[in-house]
Amino acid sequence: MNKIVLPPEASTPANWPEGLTRVPYWVFQDQSVYAEEQRKIFQGPNWHYLALEVELAEPGDFLTTHIGDTPVIVTHDTDNEIYAFENRCAHRGALICLENRGKHRKDFSCVYHAWNYDPQGNLTGIAFKDGIKGKGGMPDSFKMEQHGPRKLRIAIVHGLIFGSFSEDVPSIEEYLGEEILNHIERVLGGRKAVVLGRFTQVLPNNWKLYMENVKDSYHASILHLFFTTFELNRLSMKGGIIVDESGGHHVSYSAIDREAEKDVDYAKQQLRSESEYKLADPTLLESFDEYQDGCTLQILSVFPTFVLQQIQNAIAVRQIVPRAVDRTDLNWTYLGFADDTREQRLTRLKQGNLVGPAGYISMEDGCVGGFVQRGIAGASEDQAVLEMGGAEANSSESRVTEASVRGFWKAYRANMGI
């Protein structure tokens, strides 16, 4: 007689292996984990990137974005402050604002029943509040001040606007720590950013697979073959990664090693690159020395979902927005600076080819998360291995390490309480 064998019970979030070197696959697949992340991480005590200060330069400017699933309106009010509040009407929950961005906005009116809000998110008007001819209307007991969309705390660092739903989140300076702050300052400090373009890349994978990829310095020279194929790697590069104490933020960098460069036969290196150069138009990589520190690449991430990128002169911020368990929006904003010369601006436009959805050294990151999502489809009980470079989540002078990926999971588990 046939016997029906029941599958084993699925793991619950309590079943996380000891240490930081294993990641169970259900964490990328489970709907209840996704819901829990919304509550604990996205609504929890973290700072989330919302916009650039230059995108809201004048009073009346506004834009809409998301923190996780939650729609958010960000405004610049007439008192010259930046505000953000949930894009959800206090009446019956409709979106208050349907536009992506705009100017000269004095108030926001919900289309459904015209409840009205000021740019700080206060409920200021209710249509037919007193009814018509003494009939209908809201009861006297209804107090407008007691109703409104949730307001966010705002913090601005070097032109980046962050928001948080949490009253418990530490100050942004404390949250980021000095090292991360310094590396943000290195790219953006004291400069007026200019938006050069915005693109959204729709990733067929869980948001954490993209964050792992950003923090994974191990894959860079293996998955992305552009520099290797065209023999554009310099012989004398040094690099490393910085992982902050929480594990959640990181910096990965590579720089020209000027000491080593003196040692190697420099003429020979020049010869090598000239004779085997394979780019038909090598001006793509003609960079200008923007930071005077020889650092050609700096990828910086802030937990949970923000990335600041400098790849030569291609500067961009990336905002990662989870849309479903297996779907993620990656919002790219390409940047220049107000004092760019025409030549410098052209260099940035050309080097834009390195990054984004069609980037020579980033296009693979758009699909590789999907390869994992599809690969693990039947294996929620199995685990990823993260042992490259040891078991810790510390800064390192080698980039052949998964330390910052382990760091991400350290911060993630602390947030999730698992």
């Binding site: 938006v195 050069l196 915005r198 693109f199 065209f230 080819n353 069609a358």
Partner: protein, 156 residues
């Protein structure tokens, strides 16, 4: 308006689409003439005057490099496009220089057969008509949507 411009441009458009859809990417750079400008952007960037492209090339060499990278360096799932082009509109004509706008729809066919409308938009082109041939000098590909599914490998 030169009576034949529309006809010359229509032929150039058809050749361009077939070149990509037939996977003859090595020939794609030779469809551009003169100083050469090729850019892929979105309707909202285009409207706001934002300069950056998803792809930006201001020389034929950069187009050649794009093809070499796709062939030799970049990793992506095998895929092909089917371009469906609408009729070109002539926007302006100045001697042999003709500007046109042509709507397109591109379906992407992945290796497992999954087919989707990958992009819709407009080509803003600058042609020079030389001996009855419309030579493409500039193409700005303006995608209607700002969202790109997974990645953009093949040119539009």
């Amino acid at each position: 308006m030169h009576a034949n411009s529309l006809q010359y441009i229509t032929k150039a458009q058809a050749d361009y689409a077939r070149c990509i859809d037939d996977d003859r990417l090595e020939e794609w750079p030779s469809l551009f003439h003169g100083p050469c400008l090729y850019k892929i952007t979105t309707a909202s960037n285009y409207r706001d005057g934002l300069e950056a492209g998803i792809v930006f090339a201001n020389s034929r060499g950069m187009l050649t490099d794009r093809v070499s990278a796709l062939r030799e360096a970049n990793i992506y799932e095998r895929q092909s496009y089917r371009h469906i082009l609408g009729l070109p509109s002539i926007l302006s004509e100045d001697g042999a220089k003709v500007k046109s706008e042509t709507p397109f729809m591109v379906a992407r066919i992945l290796q497992d057969g999954d087919t989707s409308i990958y992009a819709t938009g407009r080509y803003f082109d600058v042609y020079e008509i030389v001996d009855g041939v419309a030579q493409l000098h500039e193409r700005t590909v303006v995608c209607d949507s700002s969202r790109i599914d997974t990645l953009l490998a093949l040119p539009l």
